[in-house]
Point group: C2
Chain length 431, copies 2
């Protein structure tokens, strides 16, 4: 093998980073692999477009066949994004016995199991470290680093846009809309931010993490998702007063053989390792039965950080090629998936209510709580400007989701309660 | 291959953890490896000793030959500690073509290069993830996760004992001696704590990290070491006032092709990811040219966390055995080691002086600073109870170590300066 030939699908932010790293780290890569690596063909939409990466125009093509059906190419790197087209290209590349590295979380969350099975069938490697938490080597830490342990909980700040927004809102007391605008101006949020702010992007990553961490087939539709669009300055201010930090947390939890996976705005104690993860940074907290608490922190996006993950995967593929052991990395899931019912999901909650400021209100709320097996850990009551109205903020003890949801519903119905303004899960106080 | 047979050298804290994890995670291990794994022989000093792990007495032996020269055994796990004896056993095991997993930082810091070469020669794997930062999969993150990047800086809180002591001193305003006593009572510090508190333990781990991260042969004697024994409550209090957190930081830094490796009490800005690492937890901050800032956090010691790392290494060995590709993991260092001279080491410093409280003192200090290319970023002056004496705390701008050391010396000689009470490096404000 004189050199290893790589084809790229896409030359956007991540693709340019991949080309740059392969070019500038050539001696380091060759030292590890034992032979040079060369980018041979790159699929682009518009070869004329100006790019901030030096690449010979002869390498560019608008014909995917020149990559995926090119006999010369050993490894295909998919960094074009999107789902269906990327899936077809990857399937074709695998059928042609090409190894594949992808950064595509949408694709892996939806079709990961299928693609890994096809890869195995054709004795190909399919790696996707960059699909979760950009530059953080979290997938290989879960698969290799904790191969001897039983992971019972993962909590991820896996979306940089929403973490940037929540950090700014918390630190500067600004409103959601203003910070979103700022994030868009800085390039941290898309013009259409919905997949980020509504939690879908995080849900895709949690699907991938939960599937690997729990060795089972978690699907995107298994993830309960709630975004950050309705978080107010009041919620953040009360959270702070109570010693909590608000984060959009992807939670994947296992009790016995039963799972829950969710993405929702969550309050963490200020001392929790995830609470100090600021701005656009990502972090994944992993709890293993034997190892206990660990956390992996780093950039969740960006051209070079994400490209690092892609090229590190490429190195892994190339080492396997040199050793003749490709196609052995994917371990099929060990366990059948069993999702928890709502009466098996336990959590503490933060609850903010507007109530009538009159005698007996507290007693009514208290009695409602006890009839649903829920109780208070902390309460703040404050008068509001609106006459005859008070604001009550409650931190509950642990309750089942089923009871808590019924309780919320009954509170809304209570004559003394004007409305439930906000409700957030609290995590990270105990395992 | 019906099953993989493992021999243990040592059955102390970590060894017991290894036996427990192999016993309790049998199905998970077998699923990944494709065959069962069995502990076959365990070298102990005293077979009669009561242990908190269930193990058949017939497996115990006081004769090392029954492990290292036992033809049945495929993999030897060394968790006995110490240097010379462990080294001889491991060498013999490797010569017998047995793969080795070790948790021994002292040994790997001193003889890692030799042992890895012998392992390669005999086509054996030699893994040592547990030797640095216990349960944190930091070595494989550096080797595999950042294989495509160029690491330029690593900062580690890699000694749990000293981090526990500094956390307590900072949070509770207690003196070093009192907290040390407390740590000893809780089992976080040894009866003879010198290897921890004088920074030697951290230096061993930084030797291993720097060797891997910079792909060169860093030796223990290359590490400049300073411990925590002379840190006072005053130092911590001023640090806090200035927005810094004191940590014992192992620093490995590369500028161009020149390296520096040190372990010393260091001030970090409170916002730095390492600043919030509390108590006995460890963390390693890694800066890569492409990936930027990352951090790996978790338990640095303890029976089960450390055993997780050992058994995850064992899984890696066993996967390689099944694939027939053992002995390929060790990549020989790529670069020749060049250490920085003192005039190439740049840093900011925190400096606390007692001076005569009289006219002109400030001018003399200022003029001394400028003659050594050093300048102030922040100054605090406070009168002291002792008549005619003032305390000055200075945060310098960046200066070379050479200039700074001469400056310290000249300050001591200055008539107006009664004494230099403390001096600490500041890191983490820029790359």
């Amino acid at each position: 093998m004189v050199e290893i030939k790589v084809g790229l699908l896409g030359l956007g932010t991540v693709g340019s980073g991949v080309v740059k790293i392969i070019a500038s780290h050539q001696d380091r890569l060759a030292h590890q692999i034992g032979c040079p690596v060369k980018v041979t063909k790159v699929l682009v939409q518009n070869p004329e477009k100006e790019r901030d990466v030096a690449i010979s125009p002869t390498l560019l093509t608008t014909d995917a066949d020149e990559v995926i059906n090119n006999e010369e190419i050993d490894v295909v790197i998919e960094v074009m994004g999107g789902v269906e087209q990327a899936r077809q290209y990857i399937l074709q590349a695998l059928r042609n016995s090409k190894h594949v590295v992808t950064a595509n979380k949408d694709l892996m969350a939806l079709y990961g199991t299928e693609l890994l099975a096809i890869a195995k069938e054709h004795q190909c490697d399919l790696f996707y470290e960059a699909s979760v938490a950009g530059g953080i080597p979290i997938l290989r830490s879960i698969v290799d680093g904790f191969s001897s342990d039983r992971i019972t909980k993962m909590m991820g700040i896996v979306n940089g846009t929403t973490n940037f927004i929540l950090t700014k809102m918390s630190n500067e007391g600004k409103a959601y809309e203003d910070v979103l605008k700022e994030a868009q101006d800085l390039g941290f949020a898309e013009a259409d931010p919905s997949s980020d702010v509504e939690g879908l992007d995080a849900a895709r990553k949690m699907t991938i993490l939960a599937t690997l961490g729990f060795s089972t087939n978690v699907e995107l539709t298994d993830v309960k998702v709630k975004g950050i669009t309705s978080i107010t300055e009041e919620d953040l201010s009360y959270s702070r007063d109570l010693g909590y930090t608000m984060k959009l947390i992807g939670l994947a939890k296992r009790d016995g053989n039963k799972l829950e996976v969710s993405v929702e705005p969550t309050l963490l104690p200020n001392k929790h390792p995830l609470a100090s993860v600021q701005n656009e940074f990502n972090a994944v907290y992993v709890y293993g039965e034997a190892v206990g608490e660990t956390m992996f922190y780093g950039p969740g996006a960006g051209s070079l950080p994400t490209a690092t993950a892609v090229v590190s995967d490429l190195v892994a593929v190339m080492k396997n090629m040199r050793l003749g052991v490709t196609g052995n990395s994917a371990v099929s899931p060990q366990y059948e998936k069993v999702l928890k019912e709502d009466n098996e999901v336990f959590a503490k909650y933060f609850l903010r209510l507007h109530v009538k400021d009159e005698v007996g209100v507290f007693a009514k709320i208290t009695s409602l709580f006890s009839s649903y097996d829920a109780s208070f850990e902390k309460i703040i009551q404050m008068p509001l400007e609106e006459k005859g109205t008070a604001e009550i903020v409650i931190v509950t003890h642990r309750a089942t989701l089923e009871n808590y949801q019924t309780l919320l519903h009954k509170l809304e119905e209570l004559d003394a309660v004007k409305c439930v303004k906000a409700s957030y899960r609290i995590e990270g106080e105990s395992k």
